[in-house]
């Protein structure tokens, strides 16, 4: 069973601060996705990373896939209240997408 551990589990910061969320596993993934979930809604895909060492930027969000494709990080610069939500990483096993494993989640609160 592939497990994805996210840290921290909870994070409360002031508007304008920077933060990093980590997603770690002992297993190799063929791809890794990051989702954001807001209260009362389902998760929404932010990005997919496929290549070891890959870095993708989405405005103030920077996503990195580890060289060994076992871990990933999400860095937010100058956090805003609109960034508040649950961040989930999800890894697809090699050989197929059949059973994507979701991480334990990081709840972010950005205080105005």
């Amino acid at each position: 069973t592939q497990l994805l551990e996210q840290s921290p589990q909870f994070l409360s910061i002031q508007e304008g601060e920077n933060l990093t969320v980590y997603c770690n596993s002992s297993s190799v993934f063929s791809s890794l996705q990051w989702y954001r979930q807001e209260p009362g809604e389902g998760p929404v895909l932010l990005v997919t990373v496929v290549t070891g060492g890959e870095v993708k930027k989405l405005k103030r969000l920077t996503f990195q896939f580890g060289d060994a494709r076992k871990d990933s990080s999400l860095h937010i610069t100058a956090a805003q209240p609109g960034d508040t939500g649950l961040y989930l990483c999800a890894g697809a096993p090699p050989g197929g997408y059949q059973k994507v494993t979701f991480g334990t989640g990081t709840k972010l609160q950005v205080i105005p």
Binding site: Q6, S30, S31, Q98, T104, K107
Partner: protein
């Protein structure tokens, strides 16, 4: 394009009863996934259906079952409900043809409360 729709939005049942949750995928998507989200944190994989067949199953007891209909909509059934079954049940769809990069499109979930 209509998104993934789930019904009902909320469901309250008594311990021992059965619950039926429904999901309509995005048009053109043949794969439907079911996840359980308890305590507002990580998602636990329940079931995956594609082209009407159950393709994979998570570590849940047999009282969690489901099916996919010819129009690709899906139903999740939970028998003999227990208090710990209280959770948000999320349905997602994808187009299997995109392979492992295919993103999951989620509905807004059914909040099941067992009393």
């Amino acid at each position: 394009e209509a998104g993934v729709t789930q019904s009902p939005t909320h469901l309250i049942k008594t311990r021992g009863q059965q619950a039926t949750l429904r999901c309509s995928p995005i048009s053109g998507h043949t794969s439907v996934y079911w996840y359980q989200q308890a305590l507002g944190l990580g998602l636990q994989f329940l079931l995956w259906y594609d082209e009407g067949e159950e393709r994979n199953r998570g570590n849940f007891p047999p009282r969690f079952s489901g099916r996919q209909f010819p129009n690709y909509s899906s139903e999740l059934n939970v028998n003999a409900l227990e208090l710990e079954d209280s959770a948000l049940y999320l349905c997602a769809s994808s187009w299997a043809g995109q392979g492992y990069n295919s993103p999951l499109h989620f509905g807004n979930g059914t909040r099941l409360t067992v009393t």
